[in-house]
Point group: C2
Chain length 723, copies 2
């Protein structure tokens, strides 16, 4: 029987304990210090400054009091139950401290010390010991910056001035957290309710925090900076539940080899292949941003604005430069700039100067120089157009009062009020770019009051509109398709399991081609019937069954590279050819590797012509079984034109994999060729996903090549590798 | 004989007139106004405010005086010579005004009015009239924002607070200029000497401004925003001269269809295919930035810092997050983060805490929390390493005094002095990212005093180091290869010209395959000898000459799609096959298009196996003849894995074209195949470039496919289209 603490742990999301951590009433600071540069001082200072609602108990055997608070020698001496301990002492002291904390009944511990998994395998072992020593105390970290509950003043980081709001911030880097919080302070009215430095995830994992913040009604949106995930699969499962109710914005670093190395030494997590994580995050409805500078703005926009109901918006500009650049960005993101209705154009025409552009992007062309309220008038006309679902205003708004005359500033303020109310009444989002943002004109402050975000970077304003589009599409279109649950062993066929068991019994890790194909055939995949011939006579009789034009390949567990061994002959058209081929192959392979165990030759029908593709499955370090699809030859290996989806791959995502590769148009009948059987690929991709789940001992599958015809496809070669 | 004004114009860079414009002593403001919102008011106000050194003459028949200056009815009434006229009146008034200006001997006119080439062909015609009416007065614009000489206070834009410096700013958008100037004001000590709103380039072209600013010793660097170039070829020629002495930074918009549309209505310039301009700009040594937000920072960095002597730098961080992200960016840009020398690591080890990372990126891991001067110590050690040629410091520097205690701010200031002097003594660039930049700590101001740029965006700091790397490579490595001069007619062969003349004489625009191949053969390209047979007997005798295994193709000016017409037969191995093929082709083509003029059949040797490539030439709207290279099939049409270079393509750039495509590794012997004859492609690309120059009437060339063998290559089909 598991111990009580193990039972709690096995739920994978012990909300009661997490709640005691994030809403701690009593906090022990173990390693409390009088040195102002130490976290053991700063945390106490900050808890006092921010009027933490609970009690603070410094622990340090060498001090009597710190910052006016009585200091205890041990957590055991504290005359009250302790919810949370902040431990700032070095790694070697942790064991004794955790034993005392456990005795005291502490719910959670924030462990600052580094020197664990971020340094390699030995460090990971130390982490396991740490968790064992903690005996059920939930641990944030180690190698963390700390945590904050802003509303309660429970701030263990020593960071001042964290603005309050509804964003939960989870990061694997203290300075990225600093970055985001500093930006919020400077440029926004949005703020945070929680901050967690995830650290090494030795105990509490990303998905557990995610579950907690999903259920927390004060959290409106979750912002994550991740270098690598310890339990990627559970993360995806939780994330896809979370994004059904609130958005997740994520930035992942560690893409380059050097970056990964640096990430490795930072949090001890494995940086994954970015293409795999990108497709998985997208499917889970996560908004992944490309640059760290986009993290906060995109989060703010999603927190404040309604999603786009359709991916078509209008751009409103004064002068062509900004409009041109914005149109470039939005088009690249797949957002449409539809034609305006005639009525809309007529109304615009009536109020704009003759040289204005009435086509989307709309250019007021100096029409605001004497009356910036024209922006509000145009906004109203544009959002009234049924083809327009959002508005991006770019350029100078907020600056007319600065550029021209003070009176115009008042007109801009009036326009801000009008646009603010317009956004509410129309329920269509408005995002504004202004190059006068830095000057903090009152009109832009008013826009923010109405929840219209204002950015000084045009790129970022476009990315923000883009995020409203992506999250809208997810919730409307593919949100119901984001299932990540693995059913190991589901749909396994007993004869299939037998093949695998036999291979393992023979001490092999690789299935022979005919075994692999048989496994696929048993699973109902469209694989030709192959025949294993052990003599030339048998070969001839099988070739007759196949109706000739056959391929013949050596079958030997000792020969990996069949062609190199002279073990492949193609296009055998009659009896003498088959007979001769059998003998040639056997002789050639025996010469190639004397003593090799030779089981015979595999006969199969030659594939008809078609498009060469590759379907594979590999076991990803972070996410487990993952299916890959691409065209054959250099398209996969050099052009990297491949798509990934983690198992299970539903029909929806299998089709997305086929459509997603750049070369996909080739299936639609490229240059006069007939269209290829895309649906057959979609089915085979699902089959690969099914087999990966059915037989958990499979590590890798490689169907290469798979020839796709006008009707159906042929799996020419199949390779299955076991764990 | 040309008129004197035409003679001046024909020099393509009339510096004397441009000098009278940019250093005008007397300026007429035609369309002067008392309305504060009009440029005719703002320009006068600004000239007075900024203490313009010369004389200002308002011109407006309806006013007696404006802002205390006497107002004239006509420019002819002004009692002094006029160097420059700012004309703010509408398009329809320009003709009369320019006639008066010409009579007055005005050197240049800034024409604000729009309604010209940006509206289409009719507008372009009006522009030509405008230039004709100006009779040699050089025109900036029309459709411009104006121009500024900052040092002289000659500011015709009405923009206040333009910071002075050595950057010449040329833009095709007023609000992009505003953007850049606003940013300089806010965040930098760098500034501008000139600003020019290029407008429609009706008269003075980009390359003329470029030439002027190249010769101007006060200009250190040129920053350009361009939507489209009217004379792209001349621009490249001048730019490649300019970048030998000073850098050019450029941002080009109008990449998307919508963006181009907006650009079209903005400046009336043609937005080109971005791949062509990218390769041309790179070859000219221009630093092209990807986002508008990079324009000013990259310019500032290049203006202030030495180039990288080698593309290898160190990253210095406090905490892993920023280091990881920076390593990602730099690696993607091709900048190396080399291993440190043992001596360097030992020195770092002696001063950094035990958990610090001594591998590049270097992480001081909290080692600065009590002593931020450690950044200066590390910087000195790192720049002393012979493998390290520059330093990027990321994260918190400037903020330790804010985060921890006021005393640390003084230590940071000391470190700033040390790093400033270190950059000077080492002659290696230092760029700093600080998330406390916005708080304007004194230490960061000190860094700027020493010309160390400081950015709050990590991406942008990386892009800036990247620009130092690119410009360094250009000046060291490929700067001497940037020749853009076209020698029309050079290396033309008289028999080649005869072929073209005959085609034109027959009223055709397309050369027949054998004509095209003959043209290439005459030019010394490695094209097999083909034979035109007019009877089956002739076909047989030619096939014998070729040694059989021949291809046969119909020759008819009336049949474009030879295969479709049944006009192609391949792999003919003996006499009966050749004889039958001839008759079949002739009959089939006669059926396909009754009455078609049939000249016979072309016989050629079948190509051996190899890699299928395409070499083409097209006439680019902005840059003229441009050579394209890529792999055959979907690699060009779907994957767009192609490279471009404008003619003339030297050996260096021909090789760059081959190496530049993603699939290029295939030539090195992909998966066991022998390497292909890359040098043969390099030679053929140069040959295509040579032919494009030799025969100016050629508009397009398409060699498709070109089969590349282990030794040599085969041009299977050739197509040449005339203008």
């Amino acid at each position: 029987m598991p111990s009580p603490s193990e039972e709690i742990r096995s739920t994978g999301g012990d909300n009661m304990n997490l709640d005691r951590i994030f809403h701690a009433e009593s906090v022990a600071i173990i390693g409390a210090s009088k040195n102002e540069a130490k976290q053991g001082y700063q945390a106490i200072r900050t808890l006092l400054d921010q009027k933490f609602e609970g009690r603070v108990y410094p622990v340090n055997p060498k001090e009597n009091s710190i910052l006016g608070l009585k200091c205890y020698s041990s957590v055991l001496d504290i005359p009250e139950n302790i919810d949370l301990a902040l431990i700032t002492t070095p790694a070697r002291t942790l064991k004794d401290i955790l034993i005392e904390c456990s005795e005291k009944g502490v719910a959670g511990a924030v462990v600052i010390a580094g020197g664990f998994g971020e340094l390699g395998e030995e460090g990971k072992r130390l982490e396991e010991e740490l968790v064992a020593d903690a005996k059920g105390i939930r641990i944030i970290g180690p190698n963390t910056f700390g945590m904050i509950n802003v509303a309660k003043g429970l701030n263990l980081v020593g960071l001042q001035n964290v603005p309050e709001g509804n964003i939960a911030l989870l990061t694997q880097s203290g300075n990225i957290a600093l970055n985001v919080i500093t930006e919020a302070n400077l440029k926004s009215q949005a703020g945070f309710n929680y901050y967690v430095g995830i650290g090494n995830e030795a105990d509490i994992k990303f998905h557990e925090y995610l579950e907690y913040f999903t259920e927390d009604s004060n959290t409106g949106i979750i912002l994550i900076y991740v270098e690598g995930l310890r339990e990627g699969r559970k993360f995806l499962q939780q994330a896809s539940k979370t994004t059904q109710v609130k958005p997740i914005v994520l930035y992942k670093s560690g893409r380059s080899a050097k970056g990964s190395k640096s990430a490795g030494s930072h949090t001890g997590a494995l940086a994954g292949i970015s293409e795999v994580s990108q497709s998985a995050f997208k499917r889970a409805g996560i908004i992944e941003v490309d640059h760290p500078g986009e993290m906060f703005p995109v989060t703010e926009t999603l927190a404040l604005l309604p999603m786009l109901k359709d991916n078509s918006i209008a751009i409103l500009a004064d002068g062509g430069g900004h409009a041109t650049i914005a149109a470039d960005y939005l088009t690249e993101m797949g957002i449409r700039l539809p034609e305006l209705e005639k009525e809309t154009r007529d109304k615009l025409c009536a109020i704009l100067p003759p040289n204005a552009s009435l086509e989307n992007p709309i250019d007021v062309a100096g029409g605001a120089d004497q009356n910036p309220a024209i922006f509000a008038d145009c906004a109203e006309i544009l959002l009234d157009d049924k083809n327009i679902h959002g508005l991006l205003i770019v350029g100078l708004f907020g600056g007319y009062g600065i550029l021209f005359s003070q009176q115009l500033a008042f007109i801009e303020e009036d326009a801000a009020h009008l646009m603010g109310k317009l956004m509410e009444s129309s329920a269509k989002p408005i995002v504004l770019h202004s190059l006068y943002n830095y000057a903090k004109p009152h009109s832009l402050e008013l826009l923010r009051y109405y929840n219209i975000p204002v950015y000084d970077s045009l790129e970022i304003a476009c990315k923000c509109i883009g995020a409203l589009s992506v999250y809208g599409s997810y919730r409307r279109e593919y949100g119901k398709e984001s299932n990540f649950k693995l059913n190991w062993g589901s749909k396994a066929v007993s004869e299939g399991q037998e093949i695998i068991d036999n291979v393992l019994a023979e001490g092999r890790k690789v299935l022979l081609e005919y075994e692999a194909k048989e496994l696929f055939r048993l699973q109902g995949a469209p694989v030709f019937r192959d025949y294993l011939a052990t003599s030339a006579d048998e070969a001839v009789s099988f070739a007759e069954k196949l109706g000739y034009n056959t391929a013949m390949k050596i079958v030997s567990p000792d020969i990996m590279h069949k062609s190199e061994a002279g073990g492949v002959m193609l296009g055998l058209k009659d009896e003498p050819a088959v007979r001769e081929a059998f003998n040639t192959i056997i002789n050639s392979c025996s010469d190639y590797k004397p003593g090799a165990e030779i089981r015979g030759c595999l006969l199969s029908k030659m594939s008809e012509k078609g498009i060469e593709t590759v379907i594979g499955m590999k076991t990803d370090d972070q996410f487990g079984p993952t299916v890959m699809f691409g065209l054959g030859g250099i398209m996969v290996s050099v052009m990297k034109d491949v798509s990934f989806q983690v198992v299970p791959v539903s029909e929806y995502w299998a089709r997305a994999m086929v459509d997603e590769i750049k070369a996909s148009v080739i299936f639609d009948g490229f240059r006069g060729r007939p269209p290829s059987d895309k649906e057959a690929i979609v089915k085979l991709i699902q089959k690969v996903s099914e087999i990966a789940q059915a037989y958990p001992s499979i590590r890798e599958i490689d169907l290469n090549p798979v020839i796709v015809h006008d009707q159906g496809l042929t799996v020419v070669d199949a390779r299955v590798i076991l764990k």
